[in-house]
Symmetry: C2
Subunit: 143 residues, 2 copies
DNA sequence: ATTACTGCAAAGGATTTGCATGTGA
DNA sequence: TCACATGCAAATCCTTTGCAGTAAT
């Protein structure tokens, strides 16, 4: 299920909600960022196209899109980042020394996920995780 | 290395910092909670014994203790939780439906950790993770 | 005697909320 | 039409900061 803007619109309507220009603009702004996008980036992009849009609307819309699972969010040092859902799921390695971010494919979590389900009955929602640590460069210079 | 209050005090002194009654009270308050403890719980416990202690001090002290790795923190739905470090490292499974929290031993992450190091050169700091999902009961009632 | 630490109060920043207005279905 | 969405402004919540006074070593 790859979610482009049209599919998202369909999904929204299907579930009984309304497709508004604001919502589409916000979806577009998230799509524009190839990777995860911060609140401020989204806000700026939307402002560029439609200077009227309010921050509160953006907060509400992002929550809304996350609840519909059209967008996924992760926390990177205290700030939320957003991404269109449905692309190949992946995660991030965040260096807490230099801030570099590396992508981590989802398959690393396949085993953990099924193990948790089998052994603990826990249906983990590991859809967009950010792990912190030291990137190769910083790990090197640290010793 | 099991960190009780005395060892913590020794560690603090050893590294050139000062052992103050506030710090000890805060360490005690964290120890009192068998599991992870929220900011507010710690604050209340400390207040009960020493009504003078300031929130700013608590914030600063918690940061301080985390930096010394005497305490570890994790984020559970947007709020930090704290725990004495050095006990057997473990993680948490948090049900986002009912809020139930289950412990998850660290060994589940051994492989992931060494894999990240080998394949990506990334030295992941997975010391106290909180994974969200659905606990057995909620997963059941959901369908 | 130093200088780290604390308390206080104020500032800061992010997110939420209430309510009137607007608009998609 | 009418419930859902939005804009606006104020409120709220969490956390940080500056500074003056206190206390651990």
């Amino acid at each position: 299920m790859s979610h482009d803007r049209l599919e998202c619109a369909a999904q929204i309507r299907e579930r009984g909600f309304r497709v508004t220009p604001q919502r589409m603009l916000i979806l577009d702004a998230i799509c524009e960022g190839k990777e995860h996008t911060t609140f401020d980036e989204i806000y700026d992009r939307v402002q560029a196209k439609a200077p009227g849009i309010n921050q509160a609307t953006l907060y509400r819309t992002l929550d809304f899109l996350c609840e519909l699972h059209l967008v996924v969010s992760a926390e990177i040092d205290g700030r939320a980042v957003y991404e269109i859902a449905g692309e190949t799921p992946h995660h991030h390695l965040v260096c807490h020394a230099c801030g570099a971010i590396q992508e981590l494919p989802d398959f690393h979590f396949h085993e953990l996920r099924s193990h948790l389900l089998r052994e603990h009955g826990f249906k983990a929602d590991i859809s967009h995780l950010a792990l912190t640590g030291l990137c190769p460069q910083c790990a090197e210079s640290e010793r």
